[in-house]
Symmetry: C2
Subunit: 242 residues, 2 copies
């Protein structure tokens, strides 16, 4: 339903959208000991971009972000954090937008709103990788996970936005205990440690990390996990937010 609205509005350029404002979502996932983000690739181009969208005139900013997230991942109740607004006066990407739309067989009229200057509100989202079902939008032909260290060059200022999101995530990691949102319901201490290590980009001492995390009092020990590996079976924990 919302997709229809978007589609129509792209074509008509008479949107019931908040003018000159967009949102961009840096969607983090964690799999295979890699921090990953979700990127779109626009049809018939080499253009990669963060998932984003516009705000309906009757929609909260955060609801717009949640809507985008649901459309791209199929998930609701996603952990979301607004982190910065990008508003340089140069934020007008008319040529790029023209090319993107050309790839979709659309020529934008000269006064189309997409050709104007936009400010973009950055949100980062943390999701359970195993539950996400990435889905492209109307303008793109792929929506896929990319390892953080293999992110291609992105359109607009999206590389900067990603960078800022990552910095914010790093500094939020300990204070807001945000990392658990990237893990499935149950996990081992080792998995948390790998997660922290990839986000922070540094090795942590296993034994100390274990104590630190357990001392937070937010983990509940469930059972032992028999991995089949030739070593002691780790406990499986569940996050219990107070």
């Amino acid at each position: 339903m919302t997709k229809n609205i978007n589609r129509k509005e792209y074509l008509e350029s008479k949107p019931r959208l908040l003018p000159s404002v967009s949102i961009d979502c840096v969607i983090f996932g964690f799999s295979n000991n890699q921090l990953k983000i979700l990127l779109l690739k626009f049809k018939n181009t080499d253009f990669y971009a963060l998932p984003g969208g516009f705000i309906s005139i009757e929609e909260d900013l955060s609801d717009a972000a949640l809507r985008v997230l649901e459309e791209r991942t199929g998930l609701r109740d996603i952990y979301l954090e607004q982190f910065y607004v990008f508003g340089s006066k140069d934020r007008r990407y008319d040529q790029t937008h023209q090319k993107i739309m050309e790839g979709n067989g659309i020529i934008l009229k000269p006064n189309h709103f997409l050709l104007d200057r936009f400010i973009s509100i950055g949100y980062y989202a943390l999701i359970d990788f195993s539950k996400a079902n990435p889905a492209p939008d109307d303008l793109s032909d792929s929506c896929e996970w990319y390892d953080l260290d293999k992110v291609p060059s992105l359109v607009f200022d999206h590389n900067q936005i990603l960078q800022k999101a990552l910095e914010t995530l790093r500094s939020d990691l300990d204070t807001k205990l945000v990392g658990f949102n990237l893990l499935p319901e149950t996990f081992t201490i080792n998995e948390i440690q790998r997660l922290y290590e990839t986000i922070l980009g540094e090795k942590l001492v296993r034994s100390n990390f274990q104590r630190k995390i357990l001392s937070l009092g937010i983990l509940e020990r469930i059972e032992k996990k028999m991995t089949g590996a030739a070593n002691k079976a780790p406990y499986v924990y569940r996050f219990v937010g107070q």
Copy 2:
């Protein structure tokens, strides 16, 4: 000059402004052991508000904030930090805007842009109280300092914006060493401590605070300050950002 633009645009409602976006500035000052903020009072009303404004279509967001700050305080090169975007769908304050403009002898046409929904980007600014020359804008008849604990009820959601600014300032205080922007060029350790105490809202132990601040290695001892009081004269320091 910029004032003329604003004035004209209020009346014409054909602005060369970024639509649906505003900025609001929480301007902090420190005097008399009190943290203060600068508020406007609109003409012929009881409406108090944070200084704010709109963004020219050819202006960076932060430049717009700096312009507002200069217009209200006469100061340039102000310490500025973007802290949040307020974008609830209810952020449409048509009646209040009508009343504000009525106080200025202006009736807004029904389709005037001021009656639309706005998102507002919050900036907080830290300034040297002793250097500021508060000046009202065209719509207000006063621009004055208010003690933080005596802030009146503000229009729109400005009380919430102020609250969020204060929280951000508190958490930035230690990590970004932001407090010194509120002090004049030279100051005593005691003055810094009073500043920290008022911002954080708690008493700090003098001797420990002294060591902590000096151990940062960002203060240069200048001279002794003879206060005329019956006690040891404190040293005067200068901030030396690396």
